[in-house]
Subunit: 373 residues, 2 copies
DNA sequence: ACTCAAAATGACACCGGTGTCAATAAGGCA
DNA sequence: TGCCTTATTGACACCGGTGTCATTTTGAGT
């Protein structure tokens, strides 16, 4: 018979039965109950719960079985109080685009499921002069295990600094590396819009307008820069009068859409830095009685639901929001892990989804001129 | 000089200064610190924090000032551990429509802000056979202060029963009263779709199709019933072959949209039970080369973003999701309050938003026949 | 001044875990 | 076999609040 421990071996199965019998009133077991049934100290049970290597294997197995049998679950509040760190992960966001927020949340939750960690959502307003203090209090008071920052708060260096000061784990989701690699999930927006540009260029477009995103968002620069890079590969450049300043809202897209109609010479295509604005310019065309993409091809960015709801369906660049959420959560749990083994993927590359809002420019008769770079 | 307390009066301002001086290392104050500075017991401070009426007014004022001055914040984990109830509110949802989820969340958070409570999101899958157990564990282990249930899990009676057993506060958001009034936020979907019906009837439509929502959702029945009620006021009824069974998805709307085109005689209008399906129908028309609302008027339900992104913009019924979230959170905090004074509003009535997807049926020449009921 | 109920406050254990450090057991080696 | 290092375990205080119940004050009434 295998030796289990130097003390008289405890019959863990019997202990579980004992609990079942003596607990007719359905009290939830605590660590003390487990310890007594297993005839060990609370501390040993605690070690098992926390996967401490300082436990004899046989002891561990037995206690784990017992825990399973009687359905013990450590109290996160007590654990949090004692260890000064809760079992909560915060998601701090300021861009309330529903598609984005929800998908990131779902991605994070995919990873959190069954880990005992829970997700606490915390919207904020960067324009508020107390938002940093609010976030600090949130993190400090709740003793968050970690936080995930999404654009555009994720770009706030002061906030990041505060979080670092607090010693809290964090992951920043952004379109460019703003921090140590292991603390970032970067969505390669630049590569994505490069694809968008190539797509239009291949179709033969030459006169292409760009609707830029809100200046204060890094993604706005990345998307625009990537797009111009892509066009440059085909020797195309965007003249200043062809770049319009939007702010990522549908309304700005709508307004700028009609502005585009007044451009002379008229562009044959437009790249809107997100789907909302793309939908806006599409609507502007409809209002003007046009039927895209006949006179104007449109490409968006994000591939949120809107892209497939509008008509014609939007050719756009897909940002895998849910996957991004998952990656962020995964990396968050590796935050303190310095081993070279750690550090999984922390980049996602958006990809072009071709739909119906782009086509060969009307001034080209039959086929495009695919002048490959 | 006003008497403040029977003991030698404590100078709370001086106490605050004392703290500032002796705490160069920036330790966060605990209840013990406050108690010592105020020369009272921890318990008294605790009473002040919890607004217990058992504290002398002068004492209370002083301690409150002190708390403010030194920036004391009670530790939610310790409070939760001791009182067996955390400062977390859970939102349990299964309908991941981003618009809905985010707006409800924002509404709840509007109310939670600065209360010390935080929102924990918990999506679930009603089809999973463990979702009830999962939810139970979630609530029990986290010792949630309360939960807010949104459709359609909110309709699950077994879940509600489990929550009741746990003694947890809860509010159910649904389209009909499934529970005690004070535990419900009901969105009067029936009244909303009645409006939609009246609108079409007033425009002169007679042959009107209906796309029903997912059968297992109460809202599907309410919306359909309300719509038929509204039509009935104008002596219109919907023949069986005009009601199509959808499932609230865009895809079902798309499929059913082309089905509608095959109907003979063709309806002049269709009521889709939500915007997603309405958008689907609209897209089906576009695919078929039609231009709504020329041959077919469309009205949706929800007024999510999609409604204004499609072309023509959707006439629809607005459900004030954010407001619903706020109401739910407000009622949640009154859960145990039996006073008749308690119990604020717990109903919201959607209202019709007229846009561009409905018009006088083409077979009527100039003006509608507004046969008021 | 004395009595007593009501008002205000405090003492102390406890919530359910973890951190620290000491104590004990086991295995390797001279 | 005795000594020393390593592996395992436990004792106990403590995290920062709240619940219970006793104790002290206070103010009205006589």
């Amino acid at each position: 018979m295998a030796r289990t421990s130097r003390k008289a071996a405890v019959d863990f199965k019997a202990a579980a039965r004992e609990w079942a019998e003596n607990n007719k009133d359905g009290r939830k077991p605590t660590i003390k109950d487990v310890a007594e049934l297993a005839r060990v100290s609370k501390k040993t049970v605690s070690r098992v719960i926390n996967n401490s290597p300082l436990v004899n294997d046989a002891t561990r197995k037995g206690i784990q079985g017992l825990i399973r049998d009687i359905g013990y679950q450590p109290d996160p509040l007590a654990r949090g109080l004692a260890s000064r760190r809760s079992y909560l992960v915060g998601m701090i966001y300021d861009n309330p685009t529903p598609q984005y927020v929800v998908n990131i949340q779902l991605g994070i939750l995919d990873v959190l499921r069954n880990t005992g960690f829970e997700l606490v959502v915390h919207p904020c307003d960067r324009k508020s002069d107390t938002f940093i203090e609010d976030a600090r209090r949130f993190i400090e008071v709740q003793k968050l295990f970690g936080v995930i920052l999404t654009p555009s708060v994720s770009e706030d260096e002061r906030l990041a600094e505060v979080i670092r000061e607090l010693g809290c784990a964090y992951i920043r989701i952004a379109s460019v590396a703003l921090d140590m690699e292991r603390r970032m999930i970067v969505t390669n927006d630049r590569a994505g819009s490069r694809e968008a540009a190539r797509h239009l260029a291949k179709q033969g477009h030459k006169r292409i307008a760009v609707i830029a995103g809100r200046r204060s968002f890094r993604s706005a620069h990345e998307r625009r820069a990537g797009f111009e890079e892509g066009l440059a590969e085909y020797g195309i450049s965007v003249p200043p009068e062809y770049v319009l300043q939007g702010d990522y809202t549908f309304e700005s897209g709508l307004a700028l859409g009609s502005a585009i109609l007044d451009l002379d010479p008229a562009p044959t295509a437009v790249f809107a830095s997100n789907d909302e604005m793309a939908a806006g310019v599409m609507q502007a065309l409809h209002v003007a009685g046009q039927t895209p993409p006949d006179s104007l091809s449109i490409v968006g960015f994000d591939d949120f639901e809107t892209a497939t709801r509008v008509w014609p369906r939007l050719t756009t660049v897909r940002t895998p929001a849910r996957e991004i959420g998952m990656l962020a959560a995964e990396r968050l749990f590796e935050f303190d892990d310095d081993s070279p083994a750690a550090g999984g993927r922390n980049q996602t590359t958006p990809r072009l989804i071709e739909r119906d809002s782009t086509r060969i420019p009307s001034d080209l008769q039959s086929r495009p001129e695919p002048e490959s770079p």
